[in-house]
Symmetry: C2
Subunit: 483 residues, 2 copies
């Protein structure tokens, strides 16, 4: 932090005197994993998985224990990370690719553009999955590969790290922003390019794992018996076989993180680089991804500061992905009062113990696939959580890859009535409001919304949620009145 104090007015100085010899603002590396659930990281308490490099980052920096995405779907969540604006107000209501085709408004100002304006060199590698390119413009696109492209470099995180080496070192006088977004540990595509099904629910998905592995990635195989099955999943052969594959993809990803850090150290840039590790949404299993239950939205978030003081600190402040853009811009010396955002910078509290004023987050999910309309709005406080299922009359829609998963199909075929801690019926048919006491009921199975004892809590939180929707220009706020 000391390093930065003198640069609080950095960008203005830079504009006044663009010939200043060396810009000492920190580099920023933002690592975004794809579907990496919080329950599958060593430093978050999973003793079965091997993620030594991510754990080391947490040991060097700060691990956030209450970090949340705001939409449990890839494109919407990433749009929030990169704009600081909820998806319902930035236009990225659902997935970007193929037929889904959602796009942010042309008027949105995204993080890489702002950092470029502030004098940063910007580059991205791996998955983008937001559009249009003109809004989410990076100066450089490293590596190759598109969403759902089998040739994507996004499945080979060590190669990705290698693909960044030149960019990280070529112009040392200027700080850089590197957006490093892996395809791991997303499920492998379930449909082959010719349209034939690869995974039809009769065997585990491979999560990008392939015979022979990937360049310079060490093998991490897991046995179904050794994985740790989270409470939201049924504990059986199918889920364990899939989790074993999932873990393998995460350990591959972990090695990419390790290589990236190694390069930063090797080139003497590690100390002056802000590194953020997070995931777009929870694990790619029914019950997590696309849901705003805790496994879908409470995520890993590790922040290694430039000039880190407290190593291995655990920060309990509640933050969400709308806070990232203002925070990163704050580190880059941009006056955050000048930017439009639904979040706020948490820069000043990263290493602070007993933080106050960071005790709630909001989430807003609209669609995933274009056919999966299921808008949900959430207010998550420390104790209570309110979920407003706006289209609750609909059967909860399943993403194609999750529907086809071995884990789900296995239960379907056996006619299982339960799925994890819930019944299948309760999972598919949800009430308009769900209210949970997260402390007493961390698995969110006892809905208190209809319990008269909680009427006051419900009313208070409903008013607060509606106010949030109004303040953030949520088009769905009309649904409180119309129906």
């Amino acid at each position: 932090m000391i390093l930065l104090q003198g640069l609080a007015k950095g960008p203005e100085r830079l504009q006044d005197d663009s010939r200043s010899p060396v810009d000492q603002r920190p580099n920023i590396v933002l690592i975004v994993a794809d579907d990496h659930g919080r329950e599958a990281v060593g430093c978050y308490g999973n003793t079965a998985i091997r993620t030594p490099h991510i754990d080391q980052l947490a040991a060097d920096g700060v691990r956030f224990s209450n970090a949340f995405c705001t939409a449990a779907s890839c494109s919407p969540s990433r749009s929030v990370v990169l704009t600081g604006i909820h998806n319902h107000a930035n236009g990225m209501y659902g997935l970007e690719h193929q037929i889904h085709h959602f796009r942010s408004f042309d008027t949105v100002h995204a993080l890489p553009v702002r950092l470029e304006q502030a004098g940063y060199r910007t580059a991205r590698i791996g998955k983008l999955h937001v559009a249009p390119e003109s809004v989410y413009r990076f100066q450089r696109v490293l590596g190759a590969g598109k969403v759902n492209d089998p040739a994507s470099i996004g499945r080979s995180p060590v190669e990705m790290a290698r693909g960044c080496y030149e960019f990280m070192t070529e112009e040392p006088a200027k700080p850089f922003f590197l957006y490093f977004a892996t395809d791991d540990p997303h499920r492998s595509n379930t449909i082959a390019p010719d349209g034939s099904p690869i995974f039809d629910g009769t065997k585990p998905n491979l999560f990008g794992n392939r015979p022979g592995g990937y360049p310079q990635v060490g093998d991490h195989f897991y046995q179904p018996r050794e994985v740790s099955v989270p409470a939201y999943l049924p504990d059986n052969r199918a889920s364990r076989m899939e989790l074993a594959q999932y873990y393998e993809a995460i350990s591959r990803l972990d090695q990419g993180v390790g290589r990236l850090v190694e390069y930063l150290k090797e080139t003497g840039q590690y100390d002056n680089t802000l590194i953020v590790y997070l995931s777009d949404n929870g694990a790619p299993f029914p019950g997590a991804k696309t849901n705003l239950y805790e496994p879908g939205m409470r995520l890993p978030c590790i922040v290694k500061l430039p000039g880190q003081h407290k190593r291995g600190f655990v920060q309990e402040a509640m933050i969400s992905w709308v806070d990232l853009m203002p925070t990163l811009l704050d580190f880059a010396g941009v006056d955050v009062n000048t930017i439009t955002t639904h979040g706020r910078s948490f820069r000043s509290i990263v290493e602070q113990a007993s933080v106050t004023g960071w005790d709630d987050v909001y989430a807003s999910h609209s669609l995933h696939e274009v056919t999966m309309y299921y808008p949900m709005r959430v207010l998550r406080e420390r104790r209570y959580k309110l979920i407003f299922n706006i289209a609750h009359e609909l059967t909860y829609p399943m993403a194609l890859d999750l529907y086809q998963s071995f884990t789900w199909q296995n239960g379907l075929k056996k006619g299982e009535i339960r799925y994890g801690k819930r019944t299948v019926a309760a999972y598919l048919h949800r009430p308009r409001f769900e209210l949970y006491d997260i402390l007493a009921d961390p698995d969110e199975v006892r809905n208190l919304a209809t319990d008269p004892k909680y009427r006051e809590v419900l009313t208070r939180m409903q008013a607060k949620l509606k106010q949030f929707q109004k303040q953030t220009q949520d088009p769905w706020v009309s649904k409180w009145e119309f129906e």
Copy 2:
């Protein structure tokens, strides 16, 4: 038609010999009205409204009595008119403007681009309401004004016609394509630019009518008592007051059509110009627009041929807006076998009596506003009509302008149980399948889908509809299986 016979291979000849002195292919004028219901046109049997110029066009040409849009929403419907592809496959799933932000895929080939490739000069005036501009590219954009822009020329159809004069005459050696899209007779905006409500449901909307009128437009005022109230609307003071305003907007639009025709005659181009008059969807009242009931989808369509033989002919073939692009390209001499479309050219049958093979149409509506998810798929045969309400569990969503209409609010305030021929409850809560015998029950109020006597009809039509969805790559085809 004779004129055209020798030009059947027109475009190829043109490419072979670009110095051919005069291209004799017909000009094409496509007039698209905004929310003009079939029941509010003189030549379609309304004796209360005055539409002499539109009626004259029908008298000079052919009036289609079974013409249908495929989506009862502005942007999706226009996207179909201009691409020949159902909105569920061209990406324009809902409205284009502001927060709704739907866009067609970049890979779509739209009519103006194809006609330009075939050697036509292309221009548009008035409302576009589809995107991106690069897909729907016209060489020239005449006049001014955007969707919902009070300064739009789209509200002043005579001015619009004047704005086209130069384009129509400036390069006589080359045929032109003019896309003439009025804002009339759409409702006036209900929200002022400052966000305050203009029409709050306590008085009739003005449908663009204003004190002092528009340049060179003669006054056509209507008394509430003289309008003809269609069966789908309640007959009361509120609906009559709104219909009177609606009629006035239509008579204004009619004068724009008249002026355009006048210019074509004056410059000797009328005989060699193909003129098509149609509407994007039905009238802007609950019960029509956004619905795939007949008032929403069965629309005016008048075709005045180049070299017309049969004047005042009524064509009973069933056509839909997916057929327009192939038909217009056919008239332009493009080999329609080379284009991708869900429709087919009706060029050869325009003047033909007792046509066979044109006995069904399909419709596909997905959203209107982004918050109005209500996908419907329809098979309309001569006798029976099947509606598949994919998200039928939801309350039927109301467009903001229709919800705020005097007609609707009046019934709401009075606690009316009925709305036109239906109950309000039936209008808002629809079953998964609706099957109507259109001949016996033209108002679509007796649902036969649960009647065992019609099981065979239902099953046959369901199979046919599903097949249509598969063939046209409808993302919502999955809803037959998942739920």
